[in-house]
């Protein structure tokens, strides 16, 4: 990649870094609107992050360096993934053939260290949350990879920005039903991985029912800021993959492309907020069924594509 391309990517990178908390704000505002409230100010997530960055930290006597490294590695993995995922434009900063696998495994790296940091506290609650996280994370993996198979066959490429690029227009034309199923599977993966209703409720206040929140109970100060921001960034990245797959743009110039993507992201956040208002979270032992459902959607899409693409 040339220097000019890197320089040209700076405004987009700045936007990608600045956007995530806004999406959280939109989800919260949507929920408030459904409940007939005004809700917190639009910039509240940014203010929360600022507040957390300025606080000190409290560490438990039980913890080791793994606990301190957890949030850092998690956020670093997500930031690295952000250089590979197309967000506002249709290209990515460091994209290369095969980067889609790296993105999936960077998410896994982040999960590994979040889980280890939780286990480092020696708390039963956090152990429970960690166990749930690895269970649901493992179960959403087949759905994610089945969707990726469909996208890879459609584009004959393993570069994420090409897999969800403009040639998906053709794929929607030939294997439209499969693409629809992929979007459904990716939406469930998004809700699982970002700990949203119906899998997890980020607003719950009972440790026994939490998944992600209970794992990060003992983090405070800048550590917790990293975690909050990381969760929002993960939402942005997975949401972008979903949106690029669902609404392929046929190579429009950047000044049309980027604002449209932004509107789509706002729409996605609104939809997630609406889902959170319109349904309760599932019982924990029902979640595997939902993920199995996502896997079936992905499998059906793969079947349709495989039978469609081979003559």
């Amino acid at each position: 990649m040339s220097v000019t391309r890197v320089i040209a990517a700076i405004p987009e990178a700045a936007a990608v870094i600045a956007l995530p908390p806004l999406l959280l704000s939109i989800v919260v505002k949507t929920k408030a609107w459904f409940a007939g409230r005004v809700g917190p100010p639009w910039l509240q997530p940014y203010l929360d992050l600022y507040k957390l960055m300025n606080k000190g930290v409290v560490y438990s006597k039980t913890t080791t360096w793994v606990f301190r490294a957890g949030p850092i590695v998690n956020l670093a993995a997500l930031l690295t993934a952000a250089t590979l995922v197309p967000v506002l434009s249709s290209g990515s900063l460091f994209g290369f053939a095969g980067d889609v696998i790296l993105v999936a495994y960077l998410f896994a790296l982040g999960r590994m260290f979040t889980v280890l940091a939780a286990l480092d506290t020696g708390s039963s609650f956090e152990g429970m949350g960690a166990s749930r996280e690895v269970t649901f994370g493992t179960m959403s993996e087949p759905a994610l990879f089945l969707s990726l198979i469909v996208l890879a066959i459609g584009s004959k490429s393993l570069q994420l920005s090409e897999m969800v690029g403009s040639q998906l227009f053709a794929a929607w034309g030939t294997v439209g039903p499969a693409m629809l199923l992929v979007v459904g599977a990716l939406l469930i993966v998004l809700l699982t991985e970002t700990c949203r209703v119906p899998v997890d409720d980020p607003a719950t206040h009972l440790e026994l029912t939490m998944i992600h929140e209970v794992m990060v109970l003992d983090h405070s100060g800048p550590d917790f800021a990293y975690i909050t921001y990381g969760a929002a960034l993960k939402f942005l990245l997975l949401g972008s993959i979903l949106l690029h797959a669902a609404f392929p743009h046929p190579g429009w110039p950047l000044w049309i492309d980027a604002p449209l993507r932004l509107i789509e992201l706002v729409g996605l956040a609104t939809v997630v907020g609406a889902i959170e208002c319109s349904m309760a979270r599932l019982r924990l032992n029902r979640v595997p069924l939902l993920l199995a459902g996502a896997t079936v959607l992905g499998a059906l899409a793969a079947v349709l594509t495989l039978t469609g693409s081979m003559r």
Partner: protein, 722 residues
């Protein structure tokens, strides 16, 4: 080539010297470890030039007056790759074992262990460099016998004796039933035992023959490699063996099975697609079931042994994709599949070796390998904890470590298999992607469990005292650790080295391999860039946090107890256990695993006792081999006792009801008991008698005198006597 001969001489000399020094165990151990180190370095010196230049095969013929002709050794890309793997891990194990075995001095026959370790390493080197059937099988047998004695090191414990016995029987069954017939057919086809002639001899064989040869190889070498369901010896033998031995067993000995399979594939012409599909199905079953069983284990070494089954499955996926590409005429699949499989062979040797050595350090420090009893070791043995974490992250295939590089290449082969091949191939490739993704997720869960429970949190049993890890053990572990990170960060250096092996197996030359890989995946240099991005972000985020906390007013608060909903006096026993951590996943896969769980629920308002025990028996062992072997042993009993029921015909020579037994049965039983006296002289007499009869019959045979050339007869003897 002479370096390999020198290394064999060093190792065998070391073994003899160590065995003679049984009165001076410390010196004996030192000599054994030094000769393993020296032998490994010599092997590396021989293998590296061959890998770097991907030159043509070198060979050497020793005109020894052996009964089966001269001994041939050869070194090509495939041999050199495995040789380098063996050498790297054995040198690390040698340094580690010197400290590790100090505790056993005076208690157990340590010099014998050292001598057998030397023999094992020599046998491994012999197997991967042998270039004729006799030498290969000699090395193969030597390897199995040496590792049998090594597994049986703590021979006073009955379960160790049982494990060693299962190891010996399982591997010899695999060898006798599949590997010997395989080489018999090969030698018969080629009319000789030289490996170099096999490829030409098989060029025009029909599909049926090659399929039979492949299946024999898959079952025979697969038993050694540990494909499901032939893996049952693995989880039994690994925990029983002393740690340096388990590391070698899991790191390199099972890889020799993969070597045999790849060597066979190099001789065979393109197989049918169905053979590749069989390979892929075996690999997927081994991979997914291996990691699921691993998740259910409580013993750290047994858990790691099941992970070896999983990783052999991952290697098998690569081999299967390579075979698929070969039969479909898709060089990209061949290069990616075999290349990824070979790289994973080295990677698995490194991180699994490191995991076993680190687990050994845990057992050395605490005296137990039961993970439910451990906890909080990261504060007592920080270096060992960091090394274990590094290996765990590598084995889960996470960036920026070596496991990711090989899994990345394998994903490349599987994904491209979904769009280049035929429809059935695309289906299986898609299944392969799915199973590899599932394996990745489950391995992450499993190693989060092990590392979290053993090293993090608080100790679960206060009574366990922790000894520090000795320095040389740490040095031994640093070698594979550095390579794990090195391969992950600079794959550009290591990935091209697999080209020689791919050429031996599939006939693609080095330039073509890299060109074909590039048609699907970017050059591996991109991984270096992204690893740099990742490591820079980690450093930057760490630095930002440090700066924020250094500011006045943002002081570090005093350490407190972990938040427990207001409960201020947590104990180690209150932590989440490994069983509970894994249970939700195991429960989700209960239709595959059939877990047993015993619960003693707390009862009454003042419950005093509650217990939970979960246990997952191995399906292959309990539901397949146990009934099968029971049937076989019943058949043998029937032969021995000359009766259909398997019970003795005449339980005892009872006098009162003797009249009811017919004269024929009395005669048969009488002869049977007369023949089974239990005297060894009598049995040897039988052998002599049988041989005499055989010679007599053969001298009578008219065909023998009529057959003009001696060659077919000699070939027949060669084919059957090995």
């Amino acid at each position: 080539m002479s370096a390999i001969l020198a290394s064999l001489a060093v190792l065998l000399g070391g073994a003899v010297l160590t065995a003679m020094l049984s009165q001076r165990p410390r010196l004996g151990l030192l000599i054994a470890m030094l000769s393993i180190l020296g032998g490994s370095l010599l092997c590396l010196a021989a293998a590296l030039p061959c890998l770097v230049h991907t030159s043509a095969a070198q060979s050497i013929v020793l005109a020894w007056p052996l009964p089966l002709g001269e001994a041939r050794l050869a070194l090509d890309g495939l041999s050199a790759w495995f040789l380098a793997t063996i050498a790297l891990l054995s040198s690390a194990v040698a340094i580690y074992a010197w400290e590790y075995l100090q505790a056993e001095l005076g208690k157990e026959p340590v010099p014998a262990l050292g001598a057998f370790l030397c023999v094992l390493v020599a046998a491994l080197i012999l197997v991967v460099t042998a270039s004729d059937v006799a030498l290969f099988l000699l090395g193969w047998e030597l390897m199995m016998l040496a590792s049998f004695f090594l597994v049986a090191f703590h021979h006073r414990q009955p379960e160790v004796r049982r494990a060693a016995w299962i190891y010996l029987v399982a591997n010899h069954l695999g060898t006798a039933l599949f590997v010997f017939p395989l080489f018999g057919i090969l030698a018969a086809k080629a009319g000789g035992i030289d490996f170099q002639t096999f490829q030409a001899a098989l060029r025009n064989s029909d599909q049926g023959t090659t399929t039979v040869l492949f299946l024999l190889g898959l079952l025979g070498f697969g038993t050694k490699a540990g494909f499901m369901p032939m893996h049952i010896w693995l989880p039994v033998a690994h925990p029983a063996a002393p740690t340096p031995v388990s590391a070698l067993l899991s790191g390199v000995v099972i890889k020799v099975g993969i070597y045999g399979l790849l060597r066979l594939l190099g001789w065979l012409p393109a197989l049918s697609v169905s053979c590749a599909l069989v390979m892929l199905v075996f690999a997927m079953v081994s991979g997914v079931l291996g990691v699921l069983y691993a998740l259910a284990q409580h013993d750290i070494k047994r858990l790691l042994a099941y992970h070896s089954v999983e990783n052999i499955g991952i290697i098998g996926l690569g081999i299967g994709m390579g075979m698929l590409g070969h039969s479909l005429g898709q060089p990209a699949l061949v290069a990616l599949g075999y290349g990824g499989a070979l790289l994973h062979v080295l990677n698995h040797a490194l991180f699994k070796g490191l995991l076993f050595l680190s687990a050994g350090a845990v057992i050395h420090a605490t005296g137990t390998g039961d993970i439910e009893r451990l906890g909080g070791l990261a504060r007592k043995t920080p270096v060992n904890a960091a090394l274990f974490l590094l290996a765990a992250v590598s084995i889960c295939g996470l960036p920026p470590f070596n496991g990711f590089v090989s899994e990345w290449i394998l994903y490349g082969s599987l994904f491209s298999g979904t769009w280049v091949g035929s429809r059935s191939a695309a289906w299986v490739a898609a299944m392969g992607v799915l199973s590899l993704a599932l394996m990745g997720g489950l391995a992450l869960a499993c190693f989060a469990k092990v590392f979290g429970v053993v090293f993090l949190g608080e100790p679960r049993e206060r009574a366990i005292r922790v000894h520090p890890t000795p320095a040389l053990m740490r040095v031994g572990m640093l070698i594979p650790a550095a390579l794990c990170l090195g391969i992950g960060v600079w794959p550009t250096v290591f990935v091209p080295l697999t080209a020689g092996g791919v050429r031996t197996v599939a006939g693609l030359d080095a330039g073509e391999v890299s060109q074909r890989i590039r048609s699907v995946l970017s050059p591996v240099g991109h991984l270096t860039l992204l690893a740099a991005v990742l490591l820079t972000s980690i450093v930057a985020l760490g630095g930002i946090k440090r700066l924020l906390l250094r500011r006045p007013g943002a002081a570090l608060a005093a350490p407190v107890v972990t938040w427990g909903c207001g409960f201020a006096q947590p104990t180690g026993r209150m932590q989440y256990t490994a069983s509970s951590f894994a249970w939700s996943l195991i429960h989700s896969f209960r239709s595959v695993l059939w877990p047993h769980r015993k619960i003693a629920a707390p009862a009454g308002p003042f419950a005093v006792h509650a217990a939970l025990e979960s246990h997952v028996p191995d399906m292959a062992e309990h539901d397949f081999f146990a009934p099968l072997l029971r049937g076989v042993s019943r058949a043998f009993r029937m032969i021995r006792n000359v009766s259909w029921t398997g019970e003795p015909v005449l339980p005892a020579p009872s006098r009162d009801d003797g009249a009811r037994v017919g004269p024929m049965r009395v005669l048969i039983t009488g002869v049977a008991t007369a023949l089974r006296q239990g005297r060894i002289q009598l049995y040897m007499g039988f052998i002599v008698l049988t041989l005499l009869v055989v010679f007599f019959v053969e001298s009578l045979s008219p065909r023998e005198s009529a057959a003009p050339p001696a060659r077919p007869a000699a070939r027949g003897i060669e084919g059957t006597s090995k």
